[in-house]
Amino acid sequence: MIVIRGGSVFTPDGIVTADVVVDGDRVVSVGDPPPPTALIEIDATGCWVGPGLVDLHVHLREPGQEWKEDIASGSRAAAAGGFTAVVAMPNTVPVIDEGHRARFVGERGLKVGLCDVVPAGALTLGREGQHLAHLDELIEAGARIFTDDGDTLVDAGLLRRAMEYLAGRDCVIAQHAEDPGLAEDGHMHGGSVSSRLGMRGLPALAEETIVARDLALVELTGAPYHVQHVSTAGTVELIRQAKGAGLPVTAEVAPHHLVFDHREVESMDPNFKMYPPLRTPDDVAELRKAVLDGTIDAVATDHAPHADHEQEVPFEEAPRGVIGLETAVGATITATDIDQRRFFERLSINPARIARLGEHGVPVTEGSPANLVVIDPTAVWTPERFHSRSQNSPFLGRKLTGKVRATILRGRLTHRETE
């Protein structure tokens, strides 16, 4: 039995200050007088209590690249970050384009038991963009999100076919939007900083042209479509228009895009190298607004671990991506000063809905699943060392506001703040 005392609780009827009692894998009461003693007591004074966070976009690197991360270390990092469920991207080695591989990922996550790991399926075999993956097998194995993330599905005809095939199956196609021709192997945002540094630039258009084209296909097919890691004001505008026209579009943004802009690259530190690249301050401002006004439905970390030796190279040679599970809460609160309701909508309710997870992202009430997180929204801290196997974070040494105090998965404490 766990008692969470005195927190500000996200319930179906709004936010109330109340004690929450957990027994077994359910919440048994909210607001009733709790028992005088319990196995575990959590003091949540001044804290937010809500459904455990859900990350739509993580790279756990297992199978195949376990020197960077594996499902065990990634789950540990997720729990520390307040997550009770994560969607694992399929660009592992081998690619998750067949049912048994997806099953492996999900079962491994269950066995580790620190966080539910939901496999996303690849759209195409080997993510090569030529033939559709074994979509039915993958659905049977639990996949609901399909993406070639890491690469863009460029062939519009094939994308259309995927959309039509998945119609009515309650699945969503997620696109990593990066037109290879316009991207020109760029390492950072193409603009004033890349011009000064003489580095190949990646223009905003590389993202926007793909999103615009895909949205036309969504209009044609009616297929649910999710824009991954939005990074430009232009993309935000496209999404706003599409939603206005009633299209089944959702979108996510990564916390680092809410905090940093392309000037950080002047440090030449590969901890600022990711796709999409850090863009202009104007883009950052638009993204923050979009998170607050709901044009962007979810915050998703795009947690992308890379080992130290892979980062100890010149910027241009470094792999793309940074970790983010353990700093998502702090980064989001620091960047947007978001309120509790919107916070849980963007980091729990909406992502759970997009990932079609019934047991996560459920507002706290009697009988709801005991997948919970306790967050201190005013705690100031500086990330120094991560539970993740890799340490490639742009937030190292930066002050963040907002810290996870405890995470509970099916009634079990998976993370507790030690201090």
């Binding site: 003489g198 580095m199 630039g201 100890e312 190279v313 910027f315």
Partner: protein, 306 residues
């Protein structure tokens, strides 16, 4: 000054200090014994990951003229396995006793990263398309020795500016020292966004030519993607090559510079290359002195903050 990684941010005083030092070293190099004992016992390591004989030789000559020892690491196309990282190479050379490292690499920021890993001064010998500080210093030195000062000089830099570290360093150094700089290239060879750059831009070489005091020609970079910025080599030469007829229309006192190596017949006609109005060999000579000045400033006398 702990490292020399970029011209950006260097003040006029910083640059002139190096030029003044370099003037003295030009004299040293003219002596019967062109050698001084200043860096005796120090070891200068050159880490040249990009093929370049001239710059590396120039640095090594400069180090030896100051009586320093030289450790050469130049993998080029040879035996260095792809496995050994830049970091390991730098640490290995440090462990072998390098007191300073000169780093040339095809990736932007390589020298910056090495400076984060080792505790000795680092000179950027050229990183990607980003910076080549000692080239800018030797070019500024050459101009100052020829004209007396750079103030008011109109320098035109012609060629693939977009992919040129020589252009980026040069334009910053020249303009800081008071010159007026015009970048001359087709739009596809100019950087994407030059907001706040202290330069003018021209796409028509012939129009700007009669107003220039210095024509600084860049080499067409086959290896850094230069061939995609224009349609064909003959077309580039026709629009931007310094051929004999353009040469004839230069101001009588105008001079021609080139960082080398030259593509004779491309950006510069053979006749122009051999004429007395080019400062190209002066650049090479001054290059050793300029690099001696930098080595002196970084190793022998960096200042009280040591």
């Amino acid at each position: 000054m702990r490292h020399l990684l970029t011209i950006e941010g260097m003040s006029r005083a910083d640059l002139e200090d190096l030029l003044d030092l370099a003037d003295e070293f030009v004299d040293v190099l003219d002596r019967p014994i062109p050698k001084v004992p200043t860096l005796r016992g120090a070891t200068v390591a050159t880490l040249f990951f990009e093929p370049s004989t001239r710059t590396r030789l120039s640095f090594e000559r400069a180090a030896r003229a100051l009586s320093a020892d030289v450790l050469t690491f130049a993998p080029g196309t040879s035996s260095v396995t792809k496995g050994e990282s830049l970091k390991d190479t730098a640490l290995t050379l440090r462990a072998m006793g390098a007191d300073l490292m000169v780093v040339r690499h095809s990736a932007t920021g390589a020298a910056h990263r090495v400076a984060q890993w080792v505790d000795v001064p680092v000179i950027n010998g050229g990183d990607g398309a980003h910076q080549h500080p000692t080239q800018a210093i030797l070019d500024a030195l050459t101009l100052r020795r020829h004209f007396g000062k750079l103030d008011g000089l109109h320098v035109g830099i012609v060629g693939d500016i977009r992919h040129s570290r020589v252009a980026r360093s040069g334009l910053q150094a020249f303009s800081t020292l008071g010159a007026r700089v015009t970048l001359i290239a087709p739009p596809t060879l100019l950087p994407l966004d030059m907001t706040d750059w202290p330069v003018e831009v021209a796409n028509d070489f012939d129009e700007v030519l009669p107003h220039l005091d210095v024509v600084y020609l860049l080499r067409i970079q086959q290896e850094r993607g230069g061939t995609t910025g224009f349609t064909s080599l003959p077309e580039y030469v026709r629009r931007f090559g310094l051929d004999d007829s353009r040469f004839a229309r230069l101001r009588p006192e105008a001079v021609v510079m080139h960082p080398g190596p030259m593509n004779r017949g491309v950006e510069i006609s053979p006749h122009v290359a051999d004429s007395s109005r080019t400062l190209i060999l002066d650049q090479v000579r001054n290059g050793v002195a300029a690099r001696m000045a930098v080595l002196f400033r970084l190793l022998a006398s960096p200042g009280a903050e040591r």
